[in-house]
Homo-oligomer: 411 residues x 2
């Protein structure tokens, strides 16, 4: 008998540091401690009402495949949504056949990286970056090359730094805006500067815009919806938008996203990948189409809630000695510096050895969001996916936990 061998990609596929903490969270729960999960982007806010109603309304006799590119009616509705945002004004309006419906934003990323890169090619990502960019790239045999961004610079992305990182096999720049994990939002000017680099060097510019609506402008420095690469002129060939209903409508489990590009060849390549997997989910697409009818007040309420949470969290963090963070301008994440050497060890401590009034906290060690060894070791990502009252309790736990951890280290 000969033993079958896992592929190298299978054997070495990255597991995130959050996963390493899971058993510790289970341990905390087993000792009766309530764990507040600020470690993942799973909001507590209800899924928007038209979406919930759509599931209950579904009454077709056959849950059939949809077209591989998604239902035409949904793609037309999405085109109206994009064109209504006025983010397409840098080019012709977005047409339904420039939109490919995918199984979550995740699949849109997978297709985009596969269409841009062959095995051995590379994508540029700005660290700290969304960990799953690396997962998809790894699966496709693609290298991830980090470009540094710094908390001290509000996680801005200087075009010169991107340009300097481009190598012979670089095929695309992949950036989320609003950003996960940083909450940074690219201004129109930053987006244009990065787009210019991509045009000049022949890269695809893949922009993950799933948090588009979740921006918190201060003094008019940003529009009320994050600037989109779809609105940057002369980018028809280069620009690819990744989108999803997960966060916008608080429907992470619906697994409906899309990819938008004016590049017909790129679209055709992604469509062939999509044809192999037949169809995105049918009932979820109906729900996602209904989501586009969400009343403006309901959307506004959600955005205002995140802004309140951000303010509570940022204010609270800065009041804890040794803790600092830039003000996130969008999404519902931030990256904070903690007064510890090893944030993962501290997060483990919180779960295994600490509690305050029977409660503790799970945070995401930020080291997993960096490709450069050692970077982010003292940082955590915090997702503000819980209400303000609970966030206040989380802040008290963090403050007390840091104090206890310091005392423990000194003893």
């Amino acid at each position: 008998m000969a033993h079958p061998k896992l592929s190298v990609r299978g054997a070495t596929s990255p597991a995130s540091p959050i996963r390493r903490l899971m058993p510790h969270a289970d341990f905390a729960k087993s000792r009766g401690v309530h764990v507040h999960h600020l470690n993942i982007g799973q909001p507590d806010l209800p899924t928007v009402s038209p979406m919930r109603a759509a599931y209950q309304r579904f009454a077709e006799p056959v849950v059939a495949y949809s077209p591989s590119q998604g239902f035409a009616e949904y793609r037309e509705a999405l085109a109206r949504y994009y064109n209504g945002l006025d983010i397409a004004r840098g080019g012709p309006p977005i047409a339904a056949d420039q939109i490919l419906v995918t199984t979550g934003g995740s699949e849109a990323l997978l297709f985009a990286i596969a269409a841009a890169c062959d095995p051995g090619d590379s994508i540029l990502v700005v660290e700290p970056y969304y960990t799953n960019y690396r997962g998809f790239a790894h699966m496709l045999g693609v290298e991830v090359v980090p470009v540094a961004s710094e908390a001290s610079e509000d996680f801005a992305i200087p075009a010169a730094r991107v340009r300097a990182a481009i190598g012979a096999r670089t095929r695309a720049l992949v950036v989320p805006s609003p950003g996960n994990p940083t909450g940074a939002v690219l201004s129109r000017a930053s987006l244009e500067a990065l787009a210019a680099v991509c045009r000049e060097r022949g890269l695809f510019f893949i922009v993950d815009e799933v948090y588009r609506e979740f921006v918190y402008p201060a003094g008019g420095d940003l529009p009320s919806v994050a600037p989109s690469v779809l609105g940057v002129p002369d980018m028809a060939e280069h620009a690819v938008v990744i989108d999803s209903v997960s966060k916008r409508y608080s429907a992470c489990g619906a697994r409906v996203g899309c990819l938008v590009t004016r590049n017909a060849d790129f679209y055709a390549a992604c469509l062939r990948f999509a044809q192999a997997r037949l169809s995105p989910p049918t009932v979820d697409q109906h729900a996602a189409m209904a989501a586009l009818e969400t009343p403006a007040a309901e959307m506004r309420g959600m955005i205002d809630e995140y802004r309140r949470r951000r303010d509570v969290l940022v204010g609270g963090l800065r009041s804890i000695p040794g803790v600092s963070c830039p003000t996130p301008r969008g999404a519902f994440y931030l990256v904070a510096d903690l007064p510890v050497d090893d944030a993962e060890a501290f997060c483990t401590f919180l779960l295994r050895e600490f509690s305050l009034n029977g409660e503790t906290l799970m945070l995401a060690p930020a080291e997993g969001f960096y490709a450069t060894p050692g970077k982010g070791r003292n940082q955590v990502r915090i997702a503000y996916v819980l209400g303000c009252a609970r966030l206040e309790r989380c802040l008290a736990i963090l403050r007390a936990g840091l104090h206890a951890y310091e005392g423990r280290a000194a003893s």
Copy 2:
């Protein structure tokens, strides 16, 4: 400005011949002709009743992510289903943590090929084969190496032929049973013979069992459920099952499948791929769990209906001069030889130039199911996804169409 370049895999990803026929089908519809679609595996039968009810019952406030491996409760129910089928008797019972819930059987195939193969490695497939095996392999940089099966041999898969096709970089044998496109079902003995080759040569044996229940035994030569590789002894390391609710419960658009393996390392690799894409669809998983409660009579009714259709179709085809096909023993497809040189040209003729009482037919040219150039040129795949009365009309259209096509060629 430098133009961005599609990857080679993006530029060369295979499009199926069915896709080439799509514009011709649109043309037929534009001239007012009704097109019967026997070209795709989208059944007309209603989705099983407990599944439809489950969508309407869904009332959770947040459509949240499920665990990346799927809901524990669903995986436990699936384990009971597998163990209840008594197909696991060759080894220990299947446990919930040997089941990974995926977004359709498609994603299970993608993960399995990625876990078995690196770019440049290859999988063996038995031609004619399910076209999308090639699509997933292509996306992952993996070669597809065909092993011939012949209509004249009832599409049996001789182990010696598989053994002879194994090369230095072969990592897995991928076989559907019951088969798409052939409808062939591997007997327990065939499965064991192929399993022995995989054990001997260190290959993963990836068996796509999504049509497990759709078998039509004749004289007790097959059990009433297709034999599963899960029941073959000494295959814990090698065996991987691909499964899906799409066909079994007539719910293709639900996008819920799973991968089953007793190989813990293989499972762990697939789970890491699954973690990158976060979650399979949540509401669809609830519906899929409900599907397991489908009354036996409802399942039986569906299987009997397919058997009736098969009998109508096979009998009808064989009564047409020059048409032949083996008797399919499972699934709802068959591959038929037509008395034409080029089945794609004939299928195009049916759509563009022919109709009978305002109706015509769309079939899948079988050449796309072969990797060997020229093979299957005179064959079509027919999916019996329409009721008997409609199949009778389709047979009349085919008969008349072949007659007209012959006359046209002669003129």
